[in-house]
């Protein structure tokens, strides 16, 4: 195995364990890893942006292909950066005005078509479905998402939740019933999201532990085991030293 991979395995394991040490409590090892993380990812973003934007999107097209029109976005970008020059900071407004204006304009029709029209289109369905051999009938199958029963349930769900978020109407009488139905639907959806989020977080843990297990291999020099011991030792020493000092705050 190449030496840089072995060193890499040790570094990666060490940093992983530093972050896990937060489970014990907030401590210097965690803070070190956290700041290292922010630093590295900012550095990474800057390098990538430089390579992609300056080299591939600006320099090459302008110098090699003579696309001088690209100087317009470059100057708009420069205007944005005037934010850091107090006297000229107002110039950055021109850039933001342009970006926000274009963004808002682009958003309006697209949002209407994708999120309003498409969603209405799929909710508005006939309650009676053509069943081969039976003709037009009401289907009760819950497991078929397109069955009549599910069409009604979806209609009730969408309408009651929409109604729940009405703010210029008092929720009384019939409105109260509808709003309560809405909140029940909302809670079920939140429950589903909850279950899925738990699943996602557990998956992440599984992924990290899989890597750590891989690094217990002898070919890497078993960094997981050694560094686990070392991290625990450091935490113990640090908490001992902290307990000797008088409580701060």
């Amino acid at each position: 195995m190449p030496i840089e991979t072995i060193i890499g395995a040790w570094v990666a394991t060490g940093l992983t364990l530093f972050i896990f040490s937060f489970l014990y409590k907030d401590n210097p090892l965690f803070k070190l890893a956290e700041n290292l993380y922010v630093g590295v990812s900012v550095g990474y973003t800057i390098v990538k942006t430089y390579d992609t934007v300056i080299v591939h999107l600006i320099w090459t097209p302008i110098v090699k292909n003579g696309e001088w029109a690209l100087l317009i976005p470059v100057s708009i970008g420069m205007l944005m950066l005037t934010r850091y020059v107090p006297k000229a900071a107002w110039l950055s407004r021109y850039a933001f005005a342009f970006i926000v204006g274009v963004g808002s304009g682009l958003a309006i029709p697209r949002v209407i078509s994708s999120y309003i029209l498409k969603q209405i289109e799929d909710t508005v369905r006939p309650l009676l479905v053509m069943v081969p051999g039976e003709g037009l009938s009401f289907t009760w199958n819950l497991l078929n998402p397109a069955s009549s029963l599910n069409t009604i349930i979806i209609l009730i769900g969408v309408s009651s939740v929409l109604f729940y978020f009405f703010f210029s109407v008092e929720h009384t009488g019939l409105g109260k019933v509808v709003a309560r139905t809405g909140i029940l639907f909302l809670m079920i959806a939140f429950g589903a999201a909850f279950g899925y989020t738990v699943m996602a977080r557990m998956s992440l843990l599984i992924g990290r532990l899989t890597d750590l297990i891989e690094f217990t291999d002898l070919s890497y020099g078993r960094p997981s085991l050694w560094l686990l011991g070392l991290t625990i030792l450091t935490l113990v020493v640090m908490s001992r030293r902290a307990s000797h000092k008088p409580e701060e705050e």
Partner: protein
């Protein structure tokens, strides 16, 4: 130029609407004519025109259905540049089974549908071996082919053109204008008149929590979320902070507001000061009740958790935008026995807030609570405008379902006149 096209378009659509309404009842009979040497009759009623509502480089053909329409028979589209008269010299650019490509299979809504649903249609575009350029005249026709038999229709002349308006999306434009109008109208109304907003139950819970903190003589913790002041949720959180601060000033309860963003902190200091002034207790105001901790997500969380454990606030408020730190905060808060009230539009964190807090303002309720408190015309007007929009959509959903069911029941086409308007047809 634009105006003229538009007017023509309107005329066409009115005519087409009539055509659609009248056509379905009248059957179209295939005619057999032995014009060519073959036994297969050529396709009839061929019409070719520039494909409407597109960027050019494309033409559309319409022709009548025939008795031989089946999977065995094929239709060929023949094309040549200029006004060729000899169909044999034309190039075959497309071929497909004769029981395909009906107008009803295409996605045109009734206002742009060029012919009745039972007619054949084919849209030919530039590219993939077809050369079709805007502004050039072409001859085009359809041939029916069954094994060796070939019936070629009369070639028609056509010139593709780019268009200035996509009529298929006109419903989108109408809705955008309608909703835009509603919002602007509602804001205008909110400027001149008092608009009714229902009281958000969460605000009662806020008062209750402050009351309890006073009884216990413990402080109140208020967080404004992860975003800076440019985010609407932070603005809403700051507005609600004003209300909370006013109450704590009146009850003389300690208020703690740890921050992640220095700018937000500065704004919140002003808001808190103002609130104490309004409550008539400016002498009780302390600048350091708003304090900056750090912008790092987890270090901030650990620090706030530490405050919760040491000072044991009687009530914790979490307003604004939150990410993964939400659970770490609310769990610690719950373990100290504090009343917890959350309000966020970060939908991914809502489930956790609902299960760990005593009361949660869900999504738009946060904005509504802020508008209810601030009475700012733009905020209130927007809320009213959105309510009208939601009301309209609600009506469309109910009426649409009823009409669609009726349509299925009666086998009628007319409900489509309504339903097509609320479809994304392109």
């Amino acid at each position: 130029m634009l105006v003229r096209v538009e007017r023509q378009g309107w005329k066409t659509s009115v005519l087409l609407l009539m055509a659609v309404l009248i056509q379905p009842g009248s059957p179209v009979f295939a005619q057999y004519q032995d014009q060519t040497k073959t036994t297969l009759s050529p396709p009839q009623d061929i019409r070719a025109f520039d494909t409407p509502s597109d960027g050019g480089d494309s033409v559309t053909l319409i022709w009548a259905p025939a008795a031989y329409d089946s999977a065995a028979t094929k239709y060929q589209i023949l094309l040549s540049e200029g006004s060729a008269v000899d169909p044999a010299a034309m190039k075959v650019v497309a071929e497909f089974p004769a029981n395909q490509h009906y107008v009803r299979e295409s996605k045109w809504p009734w206002w742009t549908r060029p012919a009745a649903g039972d007619q054949h249609q084919f849209t030919l575009r530039n590219g993939r071996g077809v050369e079709l350029k805007s502004g050039t005249a072409y001859s085009i026709t359809v041939a029916a082919v069954l094994s060796d038999d070939r019936g070629i229709g009369m070639p028609v002349r056509v010139t593709p053109q780019p268009n200035w308006i996509n009529w298929n999306q006109i419903n989108n434009l109408v809705l955008a204008l309608l909703f835009g109008g509603i919002v602007l109208y509602a804001i205008g109304r909110a400027r001149t008149k008092e608009i009714f907003l229902r009281r958000i139950p969460g605000l009662d819970a806020v008062d209750e929590a402050i009351g309890r903190a006073t009884e216990l003589g413990k402080p109140i913790l208020y967080l404004t979320g992860a975003h800076d002041m440019s985010d609407p949720s932070t603005i809403a959180a700051a507005v609600i902070l004003g209300r909370v601060a006013k109450r704590t000033a009146a009850y003389e309860t300690e208020l703690l507001v740890p921050h992640r963003d220095p700018m937000t902190m500065a704004v919140c200091q002003e808001i808190t000061k103002q609130a104490y002034l309004e409550a008539g207790k400016p002498d009780l105001y302390k600048d350091d009740s708003n304090f900056f901790i750090t912008s790092d997500q987890f270090s901030y969380t650990a620090a706030v958790d530490g405050i919760m454990l040491r000072k044991k606030p009687a009530a914790n408020f979490f307003m604004g935008a939150y990410f993964a730190e939400a659970l770490l905060l609310t769990e610690t808060g719950a373990s100290t026995g504090a009343i917890q009230i959350a309000g966020t539009d970060s939908d991914h964190q809502l489930p956790f807030f609902v299960t760990t807090c005593d009361y949660t303002l869900i999504g738009e309720e946060l904005y509504a609570a802020s508008a209810y408190l601030s009475r700012e015309p733009v905020q209130v007007g927007t809320l009213l405008g959105q309510d009208i929009g939601k009301g309209l959509i609600l009506c469309i959903l109910v009426a649409g379902t009823a009409l669609a069911t009726l349509g299925a029941l009666l086998g009628a086409q007319w409900p489509q006149l309504f339903l097509d308007v609320f479809k994304d047809v392109k």
